[in-house]
Symmetry: C2
């Protein structure tokens, strides 16, 4: 009996597959929240060096800035995939306005994608004054969203 | 006095800048660990639908498979940026072999990038049998790394 149960368990594990195992204990909604928070963390990481360059705390490195800007532009497309129905509560700072003002949230997302894409384009050219200006414009799209759609504290 | 402290605190906050605020309480090493774990979570999320299609649990959707494969290929380039010196311990399952066998770890990373890139290329073409085969090859590169470089439990 135990042997049969183990066999079933093993088959199930193989069925769920490798990628699924780590997330197997989470509901799809919990996993979506974890994913979207992770995607924001990943994106923010690549803003670090750009931010330091813009503030003059680090020497401007054209190649590094351009790579990070490209990464951020790409990563900005991801978080929206995690705001699926049923993820309004849980381990999240998401405000209900994300769903009650869905059009406005979409606009905020679109703006982030647009301004990060512009930054990536300008970063290839490498005029540092343009980059500073565009970095500020991009940052504003972050701020708008954090103020309107993200709770301040845990 | 309190007013002055608040003013200094405010200036410091502005100096650190928006992107830095959320991570301000972490050391760079703690942040790097958080980043790399987040980048893996983000990548794994996009494997979900592909995995279900490959296992026949979901109808093959060429556009979705191709998009996710492209995302995974891109995301596979990121985690390595988080294995900076000083991140051998902390909130991590990283094995010491990542640093003591750095060449082997680099090969494992390169293999993941290579096989995810191949999957993304094949996904544009859309021959499902090829995709199943290549998905398996990609998965093996995950397994190798998890077995040799990742601790099993927390």
């Amino acid at each position: 009996m135990l042997k049969k149960m183990l066999k079933v368990l093993l088959s199930l594990t193989l069925l769920v597959g490798f990628a699924g195992v780590a997330q197997a204990e989470m509901t799809r909604e919990e996993y979506a929240i974890k994913f979207r928070r992770s995607s924001f963390t990943t994106m923010t990481w690549y803003m670090g060096a750009m931010s330091r360059m813009v503030k003059g705390e680090m020497t401007y490195d054209k190649a590094l800035f351009a790579r990070n800007a490209e990464y951020v532009a790409f990563l900005s497309k991801l978080p929206k995939d995690g705001f699926i129905p049923g993820t309004e509560s849980g381990d999240t700072k998401a405000k209900p306005e994300i769903w009650s003002k869905a059009d406005k949230f979409k606009d905020a997302n679109d703006n982030m994608e647009k301004e990060t894409a512009k930054l990536a384009e300008l970063a290839k050219v490498g005029n540092f004054d343009d980059l500073k200006e565009q970095y500020g414009k991009m940052q504003k799209t972050c701020k708008v969203c954090h103020e309107e759609f993200k709770k301040k504290a845990d």
